[in-house]
Symmetry: C2
Subunit: 453 residues, 2 copies
């Protein structure tokens, strides 16, 4: 196992080129690329491809049923290959009136780049390219083969990526993947996967009309039926009573247990105050919150709608009721199997008439916290920040890392330049120039550490 | 007990004056009197007062916090006094485009008066006045003292009447009350009261925000809490589990049981087809429907609203949920006591945080089916239609007959010129001229029969 080489000249090169790196970020941010509205997508995909080529990548633009996907390959020394993932699309900029400078002007104010996409996710694209460019400039080579996958539909659920990845396994094959950023605190956060999401719509229809409620004694009320059906599924102590729901939940490994112990308690009192919380579920103490939050699947009513929901008095027996259920799944729960459990449960409890429709599903995935890649990130963090990275073995979000972890079978870490004050998805999204430059060094160190061990 | 006198000359007089009676109805209908929009109310109240005076009543216009109430007294022979109730306000005429002739023109088309208010309730006002006028013209006197109470807020819940009645007990004192019309089938229907209505809003607030549903494991979901709370109140076999809910339900009398037995089974199959009903509650057979419908209080969810209720996918933990509950109460259930039962029940079952707010209440009331007044109406029906009236001892609607039955302590019958095809509250409301004329004779016969026994 070779020791990693000195990164000081690489870091110095990054510092010397800081103005150009910021200008590169501005260039990307000035091209709008709003996936929901399909604004600037083609231009942005072409720009990303040219930008990869400028760094020396052999790049390709792949047509999909949706927005183009851009890939790039750059050979390096050593035997390993590292895959990077980012997305070039952004959220809409609205409400425009709340921006202090135009969202696609990318003005630099007091050391911050203010722009839609500055952090999410163009800052990450540039920090990585800046790292590769510095390594190439100083050493004439990358420490390992690098592949880059940049999609344009992350903000709308990555539908094209889901078919693209299994169809391009060879093109994307690597020894590990550095995914999108997570939100940094004062040290890097390593997020090792994501939860799955299953979204079901339950509908109950007892009649084709709403009746005058003077008939409430003789006509079935769809709202009541759905209340009763839901009540059989989870009780007031948060016990999920659907048979088979937990069957496939994977036990935690010793390493995961250890990492879980290291996660600090949540600041319960502060959250209670801020959100006027009645309580946490089950009156959990602060120290019990992270474990439940990170490792337990959720069974959530995202919406319930029946009868008259306006102000004041209207008296009807509702012939229709609808509930939206949202399940955050953990490894190895399968959305289709869970849906089947719900269907069986309803049938078994006398609610065969309640319809179940799947509106969305994504899979849970977690990545080995003891992989080479995690170790490389940990060392890179220590090297650069002189602090241990925070390792979160159970990502709570819905970003589709499962497409890489499950389909390509490689370890994955989400880490990057995001920061809690970056206002991603909001007006005045920004990236601190200092974090961009630090992030470029961090990426160079990850490449170096990953290749060297 | 004097035998009733011959009504033939009175009926003949009504027939001879049919054109004038129709013109009288047109006069009232041409004055709009929309209570919701406060349109034409003052003009209508004045017109009603003048109209009573023209018939020979000593009339008065009473100011209230809302719309004026008009009363009238006319002395008669004998010792009894009969009180008549009607209202001069009407529903809005919208949607105007659906009317085949202007709603306040009161055009006569093919033997029907087409106008907003023609049946509900101006046709009833005129049929009664026509009866009094015929009796006076033929005999020079009424068979009993007659009082008339005409309010202008029936279509908006009769708020002023509720304080007016207890404050004018002497003015309104009588031996019985003929209330507003019910819908006639081929014979008169006698409706002997109304159910009460209690309308509660239950609110659950677990936080001051909706959370991203990736927090569904640790934050309380208000929708779940309200589902669980409601489930404790009524089970899937329609058993109400709120302690005290049935405490004050009065047992049926032998006479009521007898009348109940005479009510024909509902046409279950036809309703199932028409409304695409899954079933009737408890799979009740046709013969079991009237009893449950008429005599059992309801416990209805009129609306439920929490979280995201639009189309498609949105993932939130709802911090707020709201249910609207609507209870149709039977004698002697008290809205305030029922509200207290609900409050106690929630507290006892761990839902002290669920708020309960009363948005509306009216009282149940029923009238003795063996009273003089009912017998007079039965005889009047036989006399005029040669058929027995249908007696419904348990009105299912919310019309406030309780204000008379409970506050003035007199027997009450709802009966009149309404008919199932009259389209009350809809476009092209109408009254068949034949029903108006028949109705005038029916009212004359009721006065006569009531006075004579």
């Amino acid at each position: 196992m070779p020791a990693s080489r000195d990164l000081a000249p690489v870091f110095a090169h990054i510092d010397q080129n800081a103005d150009r790196i910021v200008a590169d970020l501005q260039e990307l941010c000035r091209q709008p690329s709003i996936s929901t509205a399909h604004v600037g997508i083609e231009e942005m995909a072409a720009l990303v491809k040219r930008r990869l080529e400028r760094t020396g990548f052999q790049a390709a633009l792949h047509r999909t049923q949706g927005h183009p996907i851009v890939t790039g390959i750059h050979p390096g020394a050593g035997k390993k290959t590292l895959l990077f993932y980012n997305h070039y699309d952004v959220q809409p900029a609205e409400p425009l009136s709340e921006w202090t400078s135009p969202p696609f002007e990318a003005r630099v104010v007091d050391g911050y780049v203010i722009a839609r996409g500055s952090t999410d996710n163009k800052g990450n694209i540039i920090s990585r390219l800046a790292a590769f460019e510095a390594l190439l400039a100083v050493r004439g080579e990358l420490p390992c083969d690098v592949k880059y996958l940049i999609e344009g539909e992350e903000e709308i659920g990555s539908p094209s990526l889901e078919t693209f990845i299994p169809a391009h396994k060879e093109l994307l094959a690597a020894d590990g993947c550095v995914w999108e950023d997570t939100f940094r605190e004062d040290v890097p956060v390593l997020d090792l996967g994501n939860k799955g999401l299953l979204y079901l719509e339950l509908t109950c229809r007892t009649a084709n009309v709403d009746f005058h409620s003077s008939n409430g004694q003789i006509y079935e009320n769809a709202a009541w039926r759905l209340v009763w059906a839901l009540n059989t599924m989870k009780d007031e102590n948060e016990n999920v009573k659907v048979e088979g729901f937990f069957d496939d939940v994977a036990p935690l490994t010793a390493k995961e247990e250890e990492l879980l112990e290291r996660i600090p308690p949540y600041a319960g009192e502060e959250r209670k105050r801020r959100f006027a919380l009645r309580r946490f579920v089950l009156d959990l103490p602060d120290a019990g919150l992270p474990r439940r939050h990170l490792t337990v699947p959720s069974f959530n009513i995202a919406g319930f709608d029946a009868g008259y929901t306006g102000e004041g008095v209207k008296t009807i027996v509702s012939g229709r009721a609808r509930a939206k259920l949202d399940f955050r799944l953990v490894v190895n729960q399968d959305p289709a199997k869970i849906t089947a459990c719900i269907r069986r449960h309803l049938d078994k409890h006398g609610f065969a008439d309640v319809g179940v429709r799947m509106l969305f599903r994504s899979y849970p995935a977690k990545s080995d916290p003891e992989s080479d890649l995690v170790r490389a990130c940990e060392r890179a963090s220590r090297h650069l920040y002189e602090k241990d990275a925070v390792i979160n073995p159970f990502g709570v979000g819905g970003t589709p890392t499962w497409m890489v972890i499950r389909e390509l079978g490689m370890p994955l870490v989400s880490t990057g330049v995001g920061y809690v004050t970056a206002r991603t998805h909001s007006a005045n999204e920004n990236l601190k120039v200092e974090h961009l430059i630090e992030g470029a060094k961090y990426m160079a160190a990850i490449c170096e550490e990953f290749a060297a061990h």
